[in-house]
């Protein structure tokens, strides 16, 4: 291979590399390796003069391979590929050697041996570089439309931003109304805005927007295709009401004799068997709950059918499916409350007067079960002593390890509700730490610290017991005063942990998105790319990426929408360079590769009388699973061919003997 002309560039990275090993010695070593025409070291190879150095050498010496021994390719591979591109070389003729993360950062205690390792890695790269070949990528057009999954505040904000940018949006919501958890709240911290007053105008805006189609009471059941051109199958669950005919008058709801616990009130009140999710529902269309409807359970009644003035009731309705074609997907399915009955010592679900924070929101809401008067569930009496337990299930190895990120501020907000409604009530905040981190939160905290009859007790109750009269007694050790306090409370509010919604597990498999230890969606980078995923074209908005309060959710959703807009407005997607490709002469068409491919990118096709594997360029993500599985070596991967890898391994092993 006399035509291989390699340039080796060893970076000092200031003291990061140069402080441990001597880059000049590595350079000197590299200069003597076969095919190496020029070898240089430089303080900061990624800097403008460093890049120019390489650029000039490529021109002067006619280099056709470039090796940069510096940091991780995750850091600067694109930088140096840019250098190659500028000189007209194919960017995949570059080979990075990571002598920072893999050498100097981890072996700084043995500099001499670190230097040897650096040399060996450079020699391996030189051996490999001879086998590098040019790689070209393909471009495919994107469909300028987006799917937003979840119609809470995150989905609403993302939909509006996308739609206002001229993109067609399909908003899929599992419940019959958009609005999500925010619609259930009475007020929002720290400004104490009425939650519905700031949310419902946005809900109406979504429903009226010409670029947004809402699929309520629906679920995403299948996703195929790839970034820029997803095919999405949406299931429209049977509502037993023809929503096109229905005017939302509510006569059916009024006359229905069926009863069931009202989900929107967290089970604290009852609704009818045909019902609106809540008064301000968007779309304002009722749904029949077949589990509680007398017609479906006992074959009697049909009152709703009789009273409906437009004949919209349809008991024979079946689930329907629609196929959508979108370029990008924004996941905004939010969170769910952790099942607090699993914290057995607090008696939630067993003791009526132990309620969750969200139930307390309903108790405090003007449209809630008590019309906004704070009354305890067991006997409807006004509670005079209320305990608020923070971190109920959060920051707990036995339940959810992470912070819920809303509980502290919500507890303070609940103090406001209580003192506003029952001025002589005593409130005990049982906290471990008050984390008032958001804008205006510390001021909000300060406001309640001085409030009369509001006691901040730094401690956590361990066991809550119920008295015959429904009140609750517990001991809590206050570590501020060093006293064990015995409390008799009329009501206990648990600011509970949160977790990803149940449907996330199946949805994330459709979208091929990983999850973090808490089960939430794994972002591409926790700091720099928190709203993108490893699946191209799939973006994250709001609490599905991790617990968030409303301000953070809205900011995150707007960012996700902006990222999706950027992705769609670019107009094309590029295939990955690390594509798998088939040597059709060797391939036996066994199909193992197709069965292991996580992206459905491989099909077995008939070609000239034999079966061969075919890689779909647009679906292949270059994961290499098929390459590792192929029994004959017919499946290879760009930039990681057997020849390239083996030459590297042979060099590292000191040659074949």
């Amino acid at each position: 291979m006399s035509d291989v002309r390699i340039g080796v560039y060893v970076c000092h990275c200031g003291k990061n590399i140069g402080g441990v090993i001597d880059p000049a010695k590595v350079t000197e070593f590299a200069g003597k390796l076969p095919n190496v025409v020029v070898a240089r070291d430089y303080m900061y190879m990624c800097s403008s003069p460093g890049q120019s150095l390489i650029e000039e050498d490529i021109k002067r010496y006619g280099l056709n391979r470039v090796i940069v021994a510096a940091c991780s390719p995750r850091m600067h591979e694109p930088t140096f590929q840019g250098v190659l591109k500028r000189t007209g070389l194919n960017p995949w003729l570059l080979q990075m050697v990571n002598i920072r993360e893999h050498v100097t950062w981890v072996h700084d205690d043995v500099p001499q041996r670190a230097e040897e390792k650096a040399k060996e890695l450079v020699a391996a790269a030189v051996a490999r570089a001879a086998h590098l070949h040019e790689i070209t990528t393909e471009k495919f057009p994107v469909v300028s439309s987006a799917l937003v999954i979840g119609g809470g505040i995150a989905g609403i904000r993302a939909s509006l931003d996308l739609a206002n940018a001229g993109i067609k949006v399909y908003l899929v919501e599992k419940k019959q109304s958009i609005g999500g958890k925010m619609a259930q709240l009475d007020k929002t911290f720290p400004t104490l805005d009425c939650s519905q007053c700031i949310l419902t105008p946005l809900m109406v805006e979504v429903s009226r927007h010409p670029n947004i189609s809402i699929y309520a009471y629906s679920e995403v059941v299948d996703v195929s295709g790839s970034a820029g051109d997803f095919k999405v199958k949406v299931k429209l669950k049977p509502t037993y009401v023809d929503w096109d005919k229905c005017t939302g008058c509510g006569t059916c709801v009024e006359k229905c004799p069926g009863r069931a616990p009202k989900e929107f009130d967290e089970g604290l009140s009852n609704r009818k068997a045909i019902y609106f999710e809540f008064a301000q529902a968007v779309p304002r269309r009722p749904v029949i709950d077949a589990e509680h409807c007398l017609w479906f359970t006992r074959g009697i009644c049909r009152v709703c059918e009789k009273v409906c003035p437009v004949g919209a009731i349809d008991y024979s309705q079946k689930e329907r499916y629609v196929e959508l074609n979108v370029g990008a997907i924004v996941v905004a399915i939010g969170y769910e409350l952790y099942d607090l009955s699993k914290i057995r010592e607090y008696g939630y679900g067993k003791f009526k007067n132990v309620v969750s924070g969200l139930q307390f929101e309903r108790i405090s809401s003007a449209d809630g079960p008590t019309k906004g008067r704070i009354l305890r569930p067991s006997d409807g009496k006004e509670p005079k002593t209320i305990g608020i337990v923070l971190c109920a299930g959060s920051r707990d190895e036995k339940h959810k390890k992470y912070c819920c990120r809303y509980g502290c501020a919500a507890a303070l907000k609940h103090v406001y509700y209580i003192k506003h409604s029952i001025p002589d009530a005593k409130v005990l905040i049982l906290y471990t730490d008050i984390r008032a981190f958001g804008k205006g939160y510390e001021e909000f905290y300060q406001r309640f610290r001085g409030e009369e009859d509001v006691f901040f007790i730094r401690g956590r109750p361990a066991e809550i017991f119920e008295n015959k009269d429904g009140s609750l007694i517990f001991d809590v050790y206050d570590s501020n005063t060093g006293q064990l306090v015995n409390v008799k409370a009329d009501l206990v509010v648990l600011e509970g942990a949160v977790e990803p919604p149940k449907e996330w597990e199946s949805l994330r498999r459709l979208l091929k998105v990983s999850c973090d230890p808490g089960g939430f969606a794994l972002e591409l980078h926790p700091k720099l790319r928190p709203f993108e995923t490893t699946s191209d074209g799939v973006f994250l908005a709001g609490a599905i990426q991790g617990p968030k309060d409303i301000p953070d959710t809205v900011a995150h959703a707007a960012a996700a929408a902006a990222a999706a807009i950027g992705f769609l407005s670019k107009g094309y997607v590029e295939s990955v360079p690390y594509l798998a490709f088939v040597n059709e002469d060797i391939c036996s068409g066994c199909g193992l590769c197709a069965s292991v491919c996580p992206y459905d990118a491989i099909t077995i096709e008939e070609k000239e009388g034999k079966r061969v594997a075919k890689v779909n360029v647009i679906n292949c993500k270059g994961c290499g699973t098929c390459v590792a599985t192929c029994p004959s070596g017919a499946m290879q991967q760009n930039y990681f061919t057997d020849t390239q890898l083996l030459s590297e391994v042979v060099s590292l092993a000191g040659g074949v003997k």
Binding site: E345, C391, R395, D396, E397, K398, H399, T432, D433, R458, G459, R460, P461, A462, E463, F474, D475, V476, Y477, D478, S479, L484
Partner: protein, 180 residues
Amino acid sequence: MVVLTGGSEVVALEVRLLDSRVLREVKELVRPHSPQHCYQCAKCTSACTATKVIPDYKPHLIVALTRLGLIKNLLDSGIIWACTECWKCSEYCPQDVAPVEVVIALKNLSIAMGYKPPEDLKMMAKNVVELGYISPPIEVLSKEFEMYGRNALALPELVKPYTHEGTINNLKKLLGGVYE
């Protein structure tokens, strides 16, 4: 009772660091539990059976002091022997610290360091060897103020445990010289 925190006494940082060896030993003994993860929510002390009787016994404080290596006062006071080992603290601890494990580790360490165990422990050890139980059977008073013994409950007579010189010696060794 003994003041465990050192009261108003100002502790120099060096004193804390001097005892860091103890923390390493405790950490080793309580594995896989982790005293260093304690965030002092004091849920253990809220639950503690012993605290209600002996207010100076505070599991979260024992973990805090141990974590800092400040165990001299702690062992001098003998407060660790107040633990009834009901394991509620371990059950409720949100950080899987298991304060009872820390206390047990400290008990073992204190014997190893030459601290004298409380008299009751000696009695218990003696009972184990002679009766086969930690405490001898006693008669109890019912809610109706009637005494109940084993006879009244139709329980069989206690059988004297099998004793062997070697077994006793091994037990004595395990109990670290407590049984003398």
